[in-house]
């Protein structure tokens, strides 16, 4: 079972995060301040850590993270913060964080991002061909096939599909897609991504078959082999 350590000082928020991650199937441990978190993270092994940026006491989230990294703990870390400015994000990632999420956030966004971090950790990007069901993407020749049918994609559609195929069976939120495929950092306010996904769907789904890209209401998408 995947073990996650949550370091968050507000007990109610910590409880909510624990419930959400527990419902998602993670085993969750929590710490209320930087010192406690540091001791737990070093003493036991966790697959991922969720650390609040602002923690009471002498050791804040970034200080704790930097100490962890220098102690050789390599588990992926997601930083939670009420500070949304880009430079805060950059600072967080520079201190050794793998992802940065601004409060308030949807829990589905948190679990989706954790899934991606865990997947990245366990399966390094070495494959040259991605397969989901009948869908096959050749990363060298940049061709996509559905069974025998070659699917012709625009570059941006290709990158959208690539990201979805790297995370089959996982929820991928609009914000994650936008950050990954368009490379700009801001919360995409309109549902423009939906239209892009709609176009992509039309291209990859064969006639009369169950659609491969499923919409997760209000949050994102999931690519899954039909049946």
């Amino acid at each position: 079972m995947t073990r996650v350590l949550v370091v968050e000082d507000d007990p109610q928020t910590a409880d909510e995060i624990r419930c959400a991650l527990g419902d998602h199937g993670f085993e969750v441990d929590s710490a209320a301040n930087g010192r406690e978190g540091l001791i737990k993270a070093v003493a036991e092994h966790y697959d991922a850590l969720v650390i609040d940026r602002m923690l009471p006491g002498g050791l804040d989230g970034l200080g704790m993270l930097a100490t962890l990294r220098s102690a050789g703990v390599e588990s992926p870390v997601l930083i939670l913060s009420a500070l949304s400015a880009v430079e805060e994000r950059v600072r967080g990632l520079r201190a050794g964080g793998d992802d940065y999420l601004t409060k308030p956030f949807d829990f589905i966004e948190l679990t989706a991002r954790l899934d991606v971090l865990l997947r990245r950790q366990s399966a390094p990007r070495r494959e040259t061909v991605l397969r989901v069901g009948k869908l096959e993407m050749d990363l060298v020749t940049h061709t996509v096939r559905d069974g025998g049918r070659v699917i012709d994609l625009l570059p941006r559609e290709y990158r959208l599909l690539e990201f979805l195929m790297r995370h089959p069976g996982q929820i991928v939120t609009r914000t994650m897609l936008f950050e990954e495929v368009w490379n700009y950092h801001y919360i995409e306010p309109t549902n423009v991504i939906d239209v892009h996904i709609g176009k992509l769907r039309k291209k990859i789904d064969a006639e009369g078959e169950e659609p491969m890209i499923q919409t997760i209401r209000g949050s994102g998408y999931m690519l899954r082999a039909p049946g």
Binding site: A85, E87, W182, Y184, Y186, P189, V192, V195, K199
Partner: protein, 470 residues
């Protein structure tokens, strides 16, 4: 400020300090001159006494007696007495000058010396004398009255004192005047500021003249007060709009929850109500985040993260992002490519967001079958981004207002959106030193965001024909 505080004003103190400095330096100068003059005239007199003494040396007794007698007649007032005494101090010839006994007994010879003679009417007469003992034992005294020199000295000192007094009075008067003037100005400024502090933001500091340090300061402070007034009004506007834009969904949320509490029976009813509440809360959060973002961009801290940004790339990315949306609405979205690169220092994500807002707005307000054109341009006067549509446009009187937070035109009141889009664009433009201009595209709206005043020539129809939709 009361007049009793005069001595605390800077200008008064400064004037006083200069007065003291001036007084000290002129006293020193005067003392030096006085001493030098006095010295010089003493030396002149001593030289004269010596040369007169010497002129008697070659004369025989008869000649010198004749000269002494002639001098006595010529100088009855004893201004320059020449006297010949015998060895016991009795006058033999020359001026009628009687030496007191104590002086005679200690009479120095061979050098100049000062002495004084009691005057008939009381007081003394000062003299500078030179005595020589002759080989015969007689003593020849040549002297000179020092009254003139003394009177001259007194005159000079007196006039210096008078001049000093007048200077001091004038200086004090000037210092007081300057001090009172500055007290008045500061009183006026203090009162004006107090009025502002009390809540009257339309108040300004009194301006006197256009140049001078004080006027310059007042000018700057007035500019600042103007900006504060603008911001206060904007904050008030924002608060009113926040009240409206947040209260409406909050009311809906609360009403929905209460209704569920009263009526819901099945789990499905509750689930539906929860979903509704979650959606409503999310939209509230979106409005809230948009507000925070405008503030964040406006405070300017993001300039620290500036990098080189290719505006052409940014506009291209936005057009690519929105192409499917335009297609769905039946609007032609075109990217106009220009040969000249438009690269500037900036925050790529913010510029992208700004252009997204412009294109999103254009698409929102252009009817199906319409046309939206976007381009990045570089001219000698500056670089920027232009988005033009042929929709209904923004009425003249609303063009400035749409840049404000939460403002929604009459036409847009019932569409989606927080009313913060253009305010954010304006904030991003300000952060990048760009101006945002809204003009009439006849028909439609043309929005230009650029540095300097590099408004490019309008897009020609022919150019559009050459640039097919991608």
């Amino acid at each position: 400020m009361r007049l009793a505080d005069l001595h605390r004003t800077t200008s008064f103190r400064l004037a006083l300090l200069f007065l003291m400095l001036f007084g000290a330096s002129s006293t020193a100068l005067f003392g030096f001159l006085y001493w030098q003059t006095k010295n010089y005239s003493m030396h002149r007199m001593q030289d004269w006494l010596g040369s007169e003494q010497a002129s008697f040396v070659p004369m025989d007794r008869a000649a010198s007696t004749a000269r002494l007698e002639a001098h006595r007649v010529a100088d009855p007032g004893l201004e320059r007495p020449f006297v010949l005494f015998d060895a016991e101090g009795h006058r033999l010839a020359g001026s009628q000058l009687a030496l007191p006994d104590d002086l005679w007994s200690t009479l120095p010879t061979g050098r100049a010396f000062r002495f004084s003679i009691p005057r008939a009417g009381g007081g003394t007469l000062p003299y500078l004398g030179h005595a020589e003992r002759l080989p015969t034992g007689e003593v020849l005294l040549i002297a000179r009255d020092l009254r003139q020199s003394r009177d001259f000295g007194r005159l000079v000192v007196d006039s210096f004192l008078w001049a000093g007094l007048i200077t001091a009075l004038l200086g004090l008067g000037g210092a007081a005047y300057a001090g009172i003037d500055s007290v008045r100005r500061i009183d006026a400024v203090t009162q004006a500021i107090q009025r502002v502090v009390d809540g009257d933001f339309s108040g300004r500091l009194p301006v006197r003249g256009r140049s001078g340090d004080h006027a310059r300061l007042v000018h700057v402070v007035n500019g600042m007060l103007g900006e504060i007034e603008r911001l206060m009004q904007e904050v008030k506007g924002v608060c009113d709009n926040v009240a409206h834009d947040l209260r409406t969904p909050l009311t809906r949320l609360l009403a929905g929850l209460e209704r569920t509490r009263r009526r819901a029976v099945t789990i499905d009813d509750y689930a539906a109500a929860m979903d509704e509440a979650i959606l409503e809360t999310k939209s509230l959060l979106a409005t809230f985040s948009a507000m925070l973002r405008v503030s964040e961009v406006e405070n300017g801290a993001r300039r620290a993260g500036f990098d080189h940004v290719d505006l052409g790339q940014v506009v291209g990315d936005v057009v690519e992002l929105y192409e499917p949306v335009a297609e769905e609405k039946g609007i032609t979205l075109r990217l106009l490519r220009e040969p000249r690169g438009a690269v500037m220092r900036g925050d790529p994500s913010l510029l992208f967001e700004a252009v997204v807002n412009l294109v999103d707005n254009a698409l929102k307000f252009t009817p199906p079958g319409g046309r939206v054109t976007a381009r990045a341009f570089a001219r000698d006067a500056g670089i920027g981004v232009e988005v033009t549509d042929n929709g209904p446009g923004i009425p003249q009187h609303e063009r400035e207002a749409v840049l404000r937070r939460f403002y929604r035109t009459e036409a847009s009141r019932h569409t989606d959106g927080s009313g913060l889009g253009l305010a954010l664009v304006a904030a991003v433009a300000r952060l990048h030193g760009m101006t945002l201009t809204l003009t009439d595209a006849m028909p439609g709206c043309r929005v230009v965001m650029c540095t300097g005043d590099a408004l490019p020539e309008p897009v020609r129809e022919e150019a559009l024909a050459e640039a097919p939709a991608r």
